[in-house]
């Protein structure tokens, strides 16, 4: 590799390390991809999921997110009707992750292309993602809030 190209690469690396927003986007996108990979690797028919519900283990009663892994695996495989039977809220949580994967890429591109509008971009992202998060995880939030109150 020529020294000029090396300089360009190191400059990009330094720029990326100095941009927490871009790092958050990359990390979050990576976590979402891991979730999708987990859903794809483990088969819903074999039922060999390594993650078990701690609430069910402790109390013997299922919680609001029980069957989520199973539902995700079914959604990834296109078996939507069956996914609803395992967990009624799985679809909205899955859509949240899918939308975030797209939004992380789109916002990262806009962030790099238009440096003048970065503050507005981050504000729009925070508000938009916050609303989507609340809509997707509302049943889980309700269970937590009602337990505290």
């Amino acid at each position: 590799m020529s020294p000029e190209k090396n300089d360009v690469m190191s400059n990009r690396k330094v720029r990326l390390l100095n941009e927490p927003y871009l790092i958050i986007n990359i990390v979050f996108a990576g976590v979402i991809l891991l979730i999708f990979a987990y859903s794809g690797i483990f088969s819903p028919d074999k039922d060999s999921y390594p993650v078990v519900c701690i609430h069910q283990k402790l109390t013997g009663q299922p919680c609001v997110s029980c069957g989520l892994s199973h539902s995700f695996s079914l959604i990834v495989r296109g078996r939507i009707d069956e996914a609803y039977k395992w967990n009624i809220y799985a679809m909205r949580v899955f859509l949240f992750f899918a939308s975030q994967l797209v939004l992380r890429s789109v916002f990262s591109i806009f962030y790099m292309k238009y440096p003048d509008t970065r503050k507005q971009l981050i504000l729009v992202d925070c508000i938009g993602s916050g609303i989507i998060f609340l809509v997707a995880f509302w049943p889980f939030m309700v269970s937590i809030i009602s337990a505290i109150l």
């Binding site: 927490p20 993650v51 701690i54 609430h55 402790l58 109390t59 937590i144 337990a147």
Partner: protein, 177 residues
Amino acid sequence: MEEVRNNSGQNLGIAALITAVITFVLAVIPCVGLVAIIPGIIAIILATVGLSQANRNNSPRGVAMAGLIIAIIASMISFSQIFVAGKIAQKADKWPNNIQNIINDVQDNVTKEIQDNNVSIKIESNGEKVEINTNANKKDQEKTLEELEGGDKAKGDSLISKKDTLQKKSGNVPRKK
């Protein structure tokens, strides 16, 4: 004079941020929310060390700060899952009582339904037919029981009469104790 900045603490900050994001995703899912407290604490420690290193060396603190904020929020959500577990456990204690109540209700309904109805049981064995007529009325049952205990024949019970005839035929009459 130009300010000297290096990336000391930046790597720790990135590690903290990755852990914090994973913690946050885990914390909002009730099934695994309780476990998320462990990576949450790790993320807080990493972010704090990263921040202190960045402060010492005058390097950027944004990533470590973001990691610390996300880790604290995620840990708080994860901690609140203890209350959810407590509530589920409380419900689990109530379950056996609820099941007992349902069983009692069903029992009462069935008893009410059959109380005033006559019950006829027919038994056929080796060509012999035995018919038992009775009803589920509590008073009648008590009366029949008293009659049986006293050795009297129940009027509506054809089993006793049949048994009596057979005993008479064979000449084997049971004695009262």
